[in-house]
């Protein structure tokens, strides 16, 4: 017998999981390693009858699949849609959300053969998965309706048939934007009869992507109106704090939120695992990758079918190697632990999916490719190497384990990043009511102007029209002046040969991107970065990390917007030294913070504000930093152009008295502020469900009065000073800025302003809860050698800001 991977059913899954958890807990005397064992009890299904109005053939088709009644939330959704309301259904994974929209939509198609629906999924793979489900239903009904996917892979000879015969067209926002809307005359049948638009995985439409999607939907509604239809929206979202608000902003209409869940669930154990500390002083823990591998091996040894999630391709491959070594198969026979990620061929992927469903494959290591949708059946255990970044996607990954009956387990192994450390040490944040908000800013001018161009191409813009909050006639006049449009009578017409949608990517704000060319072998484009991050990530001599691989930037061609890189294997990474100045242009709102400083009994003041800012930054050099030890092992100077960006920011102003009250030397006060801002940044990205890159930080002197900044910017200090990380001079009354790292802003600043109290409280929890002594990259960021009290200083500032106060 090779290792015991054969299916055993002697012991219940949960019992076997308990065994493992107990073993671990026995070794963890301090309770620092297993930070949570959360037990989710089994839940009974809440049933509702299939609505009366559902037609017999549809009823029969569902019955043939074993569905004779609905869960309560499915019935409620179907009724609300039937009543003509826009809805957003909020349910966990595996609760049968597709039935929420398929029942009312298919019923409408069966009642009226002309009716059409458009399903939007954030990725092609999800649309493919839904296609299989709908095909199955169609076949059971004698092909009473036509369903097709329409994406970049659709062969051109099939497109005509889809336009005419597709009752339900499954596509993605990018295809709608570049392939369908600009050619709407070919889709006349669909638009004239468009009854429903389904937006699945709504929570993924946030930040830049969501702001773009909102504009694409504005264009979609405009075209539908042109053909005389007003479609109804059915949205589905994972659990977030503001699904109704997000949906209403995206579709710009009232939305009914349905957040009941009638689906049954088997019991489940969720374990948070924090790798043991190796060096308490430096806050270094055992490698979370190795720990994940050990954990997965324990489960596999006990015959539990296990899925392991890693956050990068590289880690997927590393973990796969470890697990395959641990469970070797006899030569020639197929591996029973497999990898799965983008880049595998479709045939191979299908084979793995099938193997998982049938139980032949006992373990799989995946990137987020298996997080959504794809049908792989239900496994026993999900192990996550590192926090996936948001609560929503953590639950989605955890949901990959869990059968309707029987029990399952999910384990999150934390890395040492501040996000992971915060979550693993504050289980209530995760298991309580979701604090994650999804925000969009569709009226960001950079984004909106591009969509106005696309809209004008699609249909001349009339002077009565409204798009968002912008002054549309004024904007069109400007576009006419610039040569894009021409006004005739009451309409602006498109006057360019080029096709505007082609130049607009829904995944970034401006199309000004740097292309990254790998010249290790035959030159090959491996990625793109937007202009502003190009300056810090692909400057000459930088180590660029892509899919876990290291690349050395050989040359940066500024005019051509290209960076040429070669694959390398080095033990350091580079950190660009960026000199940033922020100037406040306009304050949108401001509030005093009631200071805490109760010990001193002095009147200490601070304020929070949000508004428009101008960020000027220049990358002047870079540091080489050794992996793991974070030693500074060299530096270089760079001459790169300056970059100016108008955006929005939320900032905290510390009054002079507050700064002076801190019992530390000036340099430690300043370092304390930086440390505090580092931690605030981490927490803000948690609350806003955004990438670390979406939000940036800076400290600046508060100008004498807002709006009246000194005429010139201060020159960047020399490199040596910046390398030390120490500011040249003391801040008198500093502003701690958190700004949207996109031209025009992406809607984070105002929510941050309103959630300021929460932000400070959670920041305090992060710093105070960290086991390090003087600060570490898991809380206030890497610290230098002679900074004894930075962590204290950061906490002292938080005390002064009154972190115990309730949020406004």
């Amino acid at each position: 017998m090779s290792n015991s991977l054969a299916v055993r059913t002697s012991k219940d899954t949960l019992a076997r999981v308990r065994e493992i958890v107990e073993q671990l807990a026995a070794r963890d005397a301090s309770g620092e390693v297993i930070t949570a064992v959360h037990h989710i009890p089994a839940r009974e299904a809440a049933w509702a009858a299939m609505p009366e109005w559902v037609r017999p053939e549809l009823r029969a088709a569902f019955a043939a699949k074993g569905i004779r009644q609905l869960y309560t939330h499915q019935a409620a959704a179907a009724e609300a849609v039937r009543a003509g309301r826009n809805i957003v259904v909020v349910t966990p994974t595996a609760s049968g959300k597709t039935i929420c929209y398929n029942v009312p939509v298919l019923n409408a198609v069966l009642e009226n053969r002309d009716a059409r629906a458009l399903y939007l999924f954030p990725t092609k793979a999800l649309a493919q998965d839904q296609l299989a489900e709908l095909h199955d239903l169609a076949e059971r009904m004698d092909n009473a309706f036509g369903v097709f996917t329409y994406d970049g892979d659709t062969p051109s000879d099939a497109r005509r048939a889809i336009r005419e015969k597709g009752h339900i067209v499954l596509t993605n926002p990018d295809m709608l934007h570049t392939g369908i809307l600009p050619h709407h005359t070919k889709w006349q049948r669909l638009f004239e009869n468009l009854r429903y638009i389904v937006l699945d995985e709504l929570h993924t439409y946030r930040g830049v992507f969501g702001s773009h999607l909102c504009n694409v939907l504005r264009r979609l509604r405009r075209i539908a109106n042109f053909y005389g239809s007003t479609p109804q929206f059915i949205c589905c979202s994972a659990t977030i704090a503001n699904p109704g608000e997000l949906a209403a902003r995206l579709i710009e209409s009232d939305v009914e939120v349905l957040d009941g869940n009638g689906a049954p669930a088997a019991e489940k154990v969720f374990v948070f695992y924090n790798p043991p500390v190796v060096n308490r002083h430096l806050g270094i823990r055992r490698s979370y990758i190795n720990e994940t591998s050990r954990m997965a091996q324990e489960f596999l040894k006990r015959s539990l079918q296990t899925i392991v999630f890693a956050n990068s391709r590289l880690h997927t491959e590393v973990l796969l190697t470890y697990l395959q070594q641990a469970f070797p198969t006899s030569p020639g026979s197929p591996q029973n632990v497999r990898g799965y990620r983008g880049g595998y061929l479709p045939g191979e992927r299908r084979e793995i999916e099938r193997g998982l469903r049938e139980g032949r494959i006992r373990g799989v290591v995946s990137t987020n490719a298996l997080e959504l949708g794809i049908d792989i059946g239900s496994l026993d255990v999900a192990v996550m190497a590192g926090y996936p970044g948001t609560i929503a996607s953590t639950w989605q990954r955890a949901g990959r384990a869990g059968r309707r009956s029987g029990s399952s387990c999910a384990v999150m192994v934390a890395s040492s990043s501040p996000l992971d450390q915060y979550v693993v040490r504050n289980p209530d944040y995760f298991f309580g009511r979701s604090p994650e908000h999804a925000y969009i800013q569709p009226d960001n001018l950079e984004i909106l102007v591009n969509h106005v161009k696309c809209a004008a191409f699609e249909l001349p813009i009339s002077k009565e029209e409204k798009i968002g909050s912008v002054d549309l006639p004024a904007l069109c006049d400007r576009l006419a002046e610039a040569g894009y449009l021409h006004k005739t009578g009451d309409h602006w017409h498109w006057t360019q040969e080029a096709y505007p949608a082609d130049a607009v990517s829904l995944r970034s704000v401006t199309s000004d991107n740097f292309v990254i060319v790998d010249i290790t072998g035959t030159p090959e484009v491996i990625g793109e970065v937007d202009f502003s991050s190009a300056l810090t990530t692909v400057h000459p001599k930088a180590i660029y990390l892509h899919q876990g691989e290291q690349y050395h930037v050989e040359r940066m061609d500024f005019a051509e917007r290209k960076a040429y890189v070669k694959r390398v294997d080095v033990d350091y990474y580079t950190d660009a030294i960026r000199y940033t100045q922020v100037r406040v242009l306009e304050i949108a709102d401001q509030a005093r913070l009631t200071a805490g400083g109760e010990a001193k009994g002095r009147d200490l003041h601070a304020a929070r504000s949000h508004g428009d800012v101008l960020v000027r930054s220049q990358v002047v050099g870079f540091k080489k930093i050794k992996f793991f030890t974070h030693e500074n092992i060299g530096a270089g100077q760079l001459e790169l152009p300056e970059n100016e960006m108008h955006t929005t920011a939320c900032w905290t102003t510390l009054d002079r008295a507050l700064v002076e009250s801190l019992p530390y030397p000036i340099s430690e006060r300043q370092d304390g502020m930086r440390g505090l801002l580092y931690a605030m940044h981490s927490v803000a990205t948690l609350l806003l469900m955004c990438d670390a890159h979406d939000l940036a930080v800076a400290i600046g002197e508060r100008p004498p009065s807002p709006g009246v900044a000194p005429d010139g910017w201060e020159p960047a200090p020399d490199l040596e000073a910046l390398k030390q990380g120490a500011p040249e001079k003391e801040f008198f009354e500093p502003n701690l800025y958190l700004y949207d790292n996109y031209p025009g802003g992406i809607g984070f600043s105002e929510p941050l302003f309103h959630a300021h109290g929460l932000l400070l409280r959670k920041t305090r929890e992060l710093i105070a809860g960290c086991t390090c002594q003087k600060g570490c990259p898991s809380c206030i960021g890497p610290t230098g050698e002679h900074s004894e009290h930075i962590k204290e200083a950061a906490l002292a500032i938080l005390d002064c800001l009154g972190t115990s106060a309730e949020p406004n």
């Binding site: 600009p182 005739t488 017409h493 360019q496």
Partner: protein, 506 residues
């Protein structure tokens, strides 16, 4: 004091990258359509009104040096049958045929547009139409002075299309007509009228003239086909023609209030396109059907005397693809007799051999394959299966081989033809003539050709050539092994059964 922008909105717009100007400032702007007088003076335009408003219309009649297709004789009808798509239903095809065979139903159409990208934001600002009238060509152009005139322009077009229901275009199936369909749909008032038939001359033109001309753009065809081959047919030249890439920008400048004069060449360009299109239609019908009968019985003179040999080869390709192998064979023979440049000569011989084989003329096919390999022809003794005229033609073609095309060309096209010839000959001798040694000889010749090609190949075309060579090498090697085996068995008189049957090789 710090500067405070006078207009805050303006300031916000000013920093948006997506608003970066694409044209110079300072072009004069004017909103109202200018009156017709400017174009009346320049081009004789008149304003045409209908219930949707007004647009400009320009009419001109041209005497045509080429005969108009006013009535169709049997030859023209045969050509038409070949040109109409036969994918549709039988009855539909018949109806199309009936309509299209009346040239009075033909409407030549060509548009000038604001771009080539397609999609609902591209406009056809000038629609040119033409039809045969009173022994000449009547051209009518509709022009919108501004986007507001599009509705009335489209209505006028729709009326013309109702009168003449067969569209004749050059690339109109994939460009002009879909674009106009989009424009009609955008009106939400005038449904696009489906033409009864649509003759797009681009595809036949490609098949006919690709061998001779690299480009089959209409202007190229005018210069090389319509003028040269039949004497000076056209009474215009494209010397001062506008660069078509400039056309959208010329229109945009005009719409924004620029002068009318710079647009005049665009109108002339469109007129030339229409006249060229009409002339091309006549030429294509003549090529495919033979010249029109002039009623005095002179029409029987074959066109091959005046046609370029490569055009005859093109004609044979067209006839072959449209299901006329007998005619294709005739045209191919004529092309070879007239003499083709070496690379086309090989390809044409290969085609002709294929036609011969398909028609059951195996001896002819064998001689042709041999001639591709540069073998000096023996007396083609047994050509009795073929009609006498056909074999005389073949003799002339085979004579040509001796006359100097024997030098093996090193280009890929030749190599492919030669390899195919080797294979076909090997097949013939293996399965029909059952002369295994001869068959093996040709398989070996194929391998030798490959070796020579590999030795002479430049380093830079390895990638494409390597797979090609490997594929052929494997084919010949396999065959050779089998043949040697067969030869052995035959010599030992063990069996006559095929050891390794190869289905469908014949």
């Amino acid at each position: 004091m710090a500067m405070i922008p006078a207009d805050k909105t303006k300031d916000k717009f000013a920093r948006i990258g997506a608003l970066r100007p694409v044209r110079r400032r300072g072009d004069t702007e004017s909103e109202a359509p200018r009156d017709a007088s400017e174009f009346a003076r320049l081009l004789g335009a008149t304003a045409e009104r209908n219930r949707y408003g007004e647009h400009l219309s320009i009419r001109r009649w041209y005497a045509t040096p080429e005969p108009c297709l006013t009535k169709m004789d049997e030859r023209a009808r045969r050509a038409l049958r070949l040109l109409l798509p036969n994918g549709g239903k039988e009855s539909a095809a018949k109806r199309d045929m009936l309509l299209a065979s009346d040239p009075a139903e033909w409407l030549f159409l060509d548009t000038e547009t604001t771009g080539l990208a397609g999609g609902s934001g591209i406009y056809a600002f000038l629609v040119g139409l033409a039809w045969w009238d009173s022994g000449g060509l009547q051209v009518e152009q509709f022009f919108m002075r501004d986007f507001g005139e599009e509705h009335s322009l489209l209505l006028a077009l729709d009326e013309r299309m109702a009168k003449r229901r067969v569209l004749v275009t050059f690339n109109g199936k994939s460009f002009d007509w879909p674009l106009l369909e989009t424009r009609f749909r955008m009106t939400r008032a005038i449904a696009p009228r489906v033409p009864a038939a649509h003759l797009d001359l681009l595809h036949p033109a490609r098949q006919l003239w690709r061998p001779r001309l690299n480009s089959v753009r209409l202007a190229e065809l005018e210069r090389h086909v319509l003028c040269v081959s039949t004497g000076s047919r056209l009474d215009w030249t494209r010397e001062n023609d506008v660069d078509s890439a400039m056309i959208p920008e010329l229109y945009f400048s005009y719409v924004r209030g620029g002068a009318a004069e710079p647009l005049v060449p665009v109108f002339q360009h469109n007129q030339m396109d229409l006249r060229g299109l009409a002339a091309l239609a006549g030429r294509i019908f003549e090529m495919i059907g033979g010249p029109q009968s002039n009623g005095d019985g002179t029409a029987e003179a074959t066109s091959s005397a005046t046609d370029h040999p490569l055009d005859l080869y093109g004609l044979s390709r067209l006839l072959d693809r449209r299901g006329e192998p007998a005619l294709a064979r005739k045209a191919c023979s004529a092309a070879l007799v007239a003499g083709l440049p070496i690379e086309h000569d090989r390809a044409a011989r290969r085609d002709l051999a294929r036609f011969a084989k398909r028609a059951g003329d195996l001896p002819g096919a064998v001689e042709l394959w041999k001639s591709i390999l540069g073998t000096v022809p023996g007396a083609p003794a047994k050509l009795n299966a073929v009609a006498p005229t056909q074999s005389r033609t073949l003799e002339r073609i085979l004579q040509r081989t001796a006359a100097g095309t024997a030098a093996p060309a090193s280009d890929g096209g030749h190599l492919r033809a030669a390899l195919e010839a080797c294979e076909q000959l090997a097949i013939h001798f293996e399965h029909r003539a059952r002369a295994f040694d001869r068959a093996a000889q040709f398989a070996r010749q194929g391998l030798a050709l490959l070796d020579r090609a590999k030795a002479g190949r430049r380093m830079d075309d390895v990638s494409a050539g390597a797979t090609f060579c490997r594929k052929w090498q494997a084919r010949f090697t396999r065959r050779l092994t089998r043949l040697e085996c067969k030869a052995l068995r035959a010599s030992h008189l063990i069996t006559h059964q095929s050891v390794d049957p190869v289905p469908n090789e014949l």
